[in-house]
């Protein structure tokens, strides 16, 4: 069928093709290098099931926290004029550019046993984040929140502010407008932001291992398990990576069909 807008230009098609190659070739190569006979053994192993379960639960918990805390922040950035808004937006994006290990060190300085918040917390409650599952969730929230907030802010911005104004003229409070107008209009973007945050959280490695260490069933997420396994057994590490790849793609596809409604 002829596209009424004309044929896609070569200048765009060539780079688009190269981009696809760049993304697909390493993954295909990994699939090719995997020793599939190893896979059933890995699937039965206790460390794998513990790590996979921990990864899925901590990422989901982190995504939920990102929604509860991040959506209001995204709304604030998108809808409220105030001094220092540009500064706040910049601060929100900083964790995006931090190397994950640095994020881990930053978290430790704040929430570690001798940290600014961690020390009084330990003295008051006897609880410390490092080496706990709660610490893993905290690290995930820290690295995933910027993605979630930026995506949600973009979605809220593109939903026209005029609708908010119309709701206000009809007597709606800002809270009602937020719930009944802004959020429903931006919903696809908000969900996309959550999926992005979840995916980022699932792959999180550096901050978790620096801040929380690595112990099976408590802080050993899939990326941690893959990393330490690779130290002694490359084939097993590849098989684990494959499990993680399949699970992540499966979840993303399921969400895409169900929620995002994109073909």
């Amino acid at each position: 069928m002829r596209d009424p807008l004309g044929r896609p230009p070569v200048v765009l098609m060539v780079p688009a093709f190269l981009a696809t190659l760049l993304l697909v070739v390493p993954l295909v190569a990994m699939v090719g290098a995997t020793d599939w006979a190893e896979l059933p053994d890995q699937l039965r192993s206790e460390p794998l099931r513990q790590a996979l379960w921990l990864s899925l639960t901590t990422s989901t918990a982190a995504t939920f926290i990102c929604l509860v805390l991040g959506l209001p922040l995204a709304w604030l950035l998108a809808r409220v004029e105030f001094r220092g808004r540009g500064g706040l937006r910049a601060v929100v994006t900083v964790p995006l550019v931090l190397p994950p290990v640095v994020a881990g060190i930053a978290l430790r300085t704040a929430f570690g046993r001798t940290g600014v918040i961690g020390e009084p917390l330990l003295a008051l409650t006897g609880f410390a984040f490092p080496f706990t599952t709660a610490g893993v969730v905290l690290a995930h929230v820290f690295v995933a929140m910027p993605f979630v907030v930026i995506a949600m802010e973009g979605a809220l911005r593109s939903a026209d502010k005029e609708y908010d104004a119309a709701a206000a003229t009809l007597g709606a409070t800002r809270w009602t407008t937020f719930r009944r107008v802004s959020v429903p209009l931006a919903l696809p973007g908000i969900l996309a932001g959550l999926v992005l945050g979840w995916a980022r959280s699932l792959g999180e490695f550096g901050a978790t291992i620096t801040f929380n260490g690595n112990y099976p069933g408590v802080t050993q997420t899939m990326p941690n398990l893959i990393y330490v396994t690779r130290q002694s057994d490359q084939d097993a590490a590849l098989a684990l990576s494959m499990v993680m790849l399949i699970v992540s793609i499966g979840v993303l596809l399921a969400l895409r069909d169900r929620w995002l409604g994109t073909p």
């Binding site: 570690g112 620096t210 690595n214 941690n224 990393y227 002694s232």
Partner: protein, 249 residues
Amino acid sequence: MQCPRSTLALLVLLLPLAGCGSGDDESGAQGELTVLAASSLTDVYEELATSFEEENDVDVTFSFGSSTDLAEQAADGAPGDVLSTADSTSMQTAEDADVTGEVVDFATNVMVIVTPAGNPAGIESLDDLKGATWVRCADEVPCGKVAQGVLEDNDITAEPASLEEDVRATLDKVVSGEADAGLVYASDAVAAGDDVETIEIAGAEEQLTTYYTTTLEQSEDAELAQKWTDLLTSEEGGAALTEAGFALP
């Protein structure tokens, strides 16, 4: 961005500068020696490099990392003149790929307990680990295997709070005060200086870690590479290693 064209031009002009920034420090050195070495050798190797550079009029560059990683890289033909590992298994990887020359053992290391300065949890021996927040290397990495051996020899069943990916990560958890104690090599304890207190483990020398070094086949200057091995086994090398907390085989 007001004028993307001039920004682009500026970038193009700056690119070659970025290339010049690294590497050449115009020391006028004759050659170059590239050493792939286990991270625990970092401090002592850097110290030895200073005199080596002066004596032989060369630049020494290092790639420090886990022995397993480096041996695999060397086996894959990564450029380098010398490979030094903290265990025999990874050296075997390189030997199997036929990239090694003569393999020499030049140092040993023993496991110790370290605690943060002031020893807040009052750890005095392996027995005190029970109930404390302590860390060691994961079973998959060499230092974890050694730690496991030491704990078994002493019938210790206490569970660590974390199994770290390498010995420096283990040390880091103790130095930062997140862990009450950690099992690391004596040389790491020396490297951490006043940040940690060191407690020797009785019978730890039963689980000795041995360091191996070799010249690599891909070396462009085998004679120079051999000189590094000679330095390690010389009196000067031995003194530097002992100073850094290693023992000699």
